[in-house]
C-alpha cells in the first residue's frame, strides 16, 4: 500500500509539473495565477499523501488543512490587484 501511495505521490507531483508549466510560461499573469492555484490544490493532496507515507497522517493533516484555508488568500490578493488597477499589462501612472 505504501508503494501505491508513493507512486501516487510521484505521479501527482509530475502532474504538478504541468501546472507549473502554466505558472512559468503562462502568457498573462492571470494564467500564472491559475497555475499556482492548481499547484496549491495538488500540494494539499500531496501533503496528505506524505502523511500517509510517514504513517502519521494525523500530524500532516493540520498542515494540509492550513493550506486549504490559506491557499486562496494569495489568489484573492492577486485578483484584488486587478480590481483596483484595471489593466493587465501596462502600468497607469501613479497619481
Amino acid at each position: 500500500m505504501d508503494n501505491l501511495f508513493l507512486y501516487f505521490g510521484i505521479f501527482l507531483s509530475l502532474i504538478m509539473g504541468l501546472s507549473l508549466y502554466r505558472a512559468l510560461f503562462g502568457p498573462t499573469v492571470l494564467d500564472r495565477m491559475v497555475g499556482v492555484n492548481a499547484i496549491g490544490s495538488k500540494t494539499t493532496a500531496l501533503l496528505v499523501v506524505i502523511g500517509l507515507l510517514y504513517h502519521r497522517v494525523n500530524m500532516f493533516v493540520d498542515i494540509a488543512l492550513a493550506y486549504a484555508m490559506l491557499n486562496f488568500i494569495a489568489v484573492l490578493a492577486s485578483s484584488r490587484y486587478f480590481q483596483k488597477k484595471k489593466n493587465l499589462h501596462e502600468e497607469i501612472g501613479r497619481k
Partner: protein, 107 residues
C-alpha cells in the same frame, strides 16, 4: 477496503491529470479555469476520500477524527476553491481580458 481506496486514488489521479492537462490544452485563460478550478477540486475530493478511508481502516477515535479532519479539508476546499476561481475570473474581466470565443476564431 483497500480496493476502494485504490479506486478513489485512481479516480483522483484521473481528475487531477485532467485538470493539469486542461490548463495546458485549453485555448484561453477563461476556459483554462474550468478544468483548473474544479477538476482539481474533485480530484482532491477523491484523493481525500481515499486517504480518509485508508486512515479509518484501523479504527480508533483518533483515526476517526483524522479521517474527519481530512474531510474537513475537502469542505474547505469546496468553499474556497470556487471562490478563488471566481476571484481570478473577476480579475480577468476587470483586467479587460476578452474571453476567447469561437466567433473570433472564425473571423
Amino acid at each position: 477496503m483497500n480496493i476502494i481506496v485504490i479506486i478513489f486514488l485512481v479516480l483522483g489521479l484521473i481528475f487531477f491529470t485532467g485538470g493539469s492537462v486542461g490548463i495546458i490544452r485549453f485555448p484561453d485563460f477563461y476556459s483554462r479555469l474550468h478544468p483548473a478550478g474544479k477538476l482539481d477540486t474533485t480530484g482532491l475530493l477523491m484523493t481525500m476520500l481515499a486517504a480518509a478511508l485508508y486512515t479509518i481502516q484501523d479504527f480508533s477515535t483518533e483515526s476517526l477524527l483524522t479521517g474527519l479532519k481530512i474531510m474537513l479539508i475537502v469542505v474547505f476546499v469546496f468553499i474556497t476553491g470556487p471562490t478563488a476561481t471566481h476571484a481570478i475570473v473577476d480579475a480577468g474581466i476587470r483586467a479587460g481580458l476578452r474571453p476567447w470565443t469561437k466567433k473570433e476564431k472564425a473571423d
